[in-house]
Amino acid sequence: MAALLEVSGLKAFYGQTQSLYDVAFDIPMGGITTLLGANGAGKTTTLRAICNMVRTDGTIRFDGKNIRGMATEEIVRQRIAHVPEGRGTFTTLTVDENLRIAAYTRKDKQAVKDELERVFVYFPRLKERIQQQAGTLSGGEQQMLAIARALMLKPRLMLLDEPSFGLAPLIVLEIFRILRRINEEEKVSILLVEQNAALALDLATHAYVLETGKVVMSGPSDVVKNDENVRKSYLGY
């Protein structure tokens, strides 16, 4: 299977502090890949590095093209959607505006309308709240809104930063079910960063484990899941 995203020798810096050391991984076309690791291992930084939101070095190839160093908004326009940590809701805008903003460069109004309807198939609850101020949504709804907004970009690759964060277990399951559907029905490849390793390994086909800014293990999820160290450190049994 061809790789959609190829990362190699990736270093990232916050000021003088280096937080990634030669990280390398591939994301297969159409697959779901997860990035596991403890707090501070560099998971979020890796996602931020892909979108040039931190200072980086190395190569990041998307669909064969080097995107490292491009401005964040230009990377997004290559159809890489990043659902950030903390959801990045536009709290003072309505749900409708939060979604439409992702399509603001498109001229075809009907196409945007169709797109909205398509997104509401996955998130019917957002449709009920369409004119509500986004800051008043529940945490789960805001997470759904963030994923829906990413979908409006018609992404080929979706980067998700801890979509389960701070949510009730049932909501988390619902969101993960939706992610699987999005992956299958929309042919969106997914790179998932998660604290909840068990859940992430169930969803993903491939997994990488980060420790203090380095990849220490990788492979198909099934293999990673059964690894002694991963089990003890991340799955807790």
């Binding site: 979108c51 939101m53 401005a71 964040t72 908004e73 997004v76 326009r77 959607a81 990043h82 950030p84 990045g88 809701t89 536009f90 709290t91 003072t92 805008l93 505006e97 439409r100 903003i101 992702a102 399509a103 603001y104 460069t105 101020q133 800051g135 008043t136 949504l137 529940s138 945490g139 907004r149 409006m152 970009l153 701070g166």
Partner: protein
Amino acid sequence: MEQFLQQIASGLANGAIYACVALALVMIYVSTDHINFAQGEMAMFSTYISWQLMSWGMSFWVAFVLTVLISFAMGVLIERLILRPLHNAPVLSIIVVFIGLLAIFNSMAGAFWSYLIKEFPSPFPKAEFGIAGVIGPHQLGVVLITLIVLGLLFVFFRYTPLGLAMRAAAQNPQSARLVGVRVDWMLALGWGLAASVGAVAGIMVAHIVYLEPNMMGGILLYAFASALVGGISNPAGAVAGGFIVGILENMVAYGGNQLEKATGIYIIGNGEKLTVALIIVIFVLTVKPAGLFGRVVVKRV
């Protein structure tokens, strides 16, 4: 009674000007968290440009439209060339740049056009405009033009994709980048729009205060008061604040005059208008720091 209505009417006209400048301040504030102290001087400079265009023989409205466009370009250029390199600079550096811009525009205007006070025409015909005895043609025209400008801005921000992108960029720049919005350009556009709105205010007020390099000094203070009264982060509030301050200052002077007539004691009058405006600022900041219409952002986690 007629005098009372006159005072309200002239308060509305002044308020319209304050509302424009306050809106310009708020537009930059919401996207950068900075108050552009040079906003008034930029408006003054724009007004000189329109005066120059008219003295070259253009009609008022042609000069008006051209000036608004030139001011837009000027605002965009200032942001791109001067403020862009300072995006990550400490607040104080940026304040120093604003004050520098203020001084530069002031002395450039003085150098190009001299400090002599110039008369500035009003475009509104006496015959068809105004309501005799209550509101003069120019005052009514100022209010109308302001309302048109505010209406256009409202439609732009509320109903166009670009307006939405600008609001998104102001509210959450990082998220805006992540949906492909070119946030830096949105900032520059915001500067352009603010400069344009300021230009409208300058051209409208110049007939009343006459054209000279310091004409916007007091107005900027009133506009600042308006923005704070209405809520510095709320454009609609700033506009409402403009009208409130405009009417209030006239009411203070009017009330003082009536009091003097009745009792013979002078307590407050025209001379204290600006003082009153500043007292309003301090009062609002103490009692209601977010302003009368300041948005308390509702947030659930």
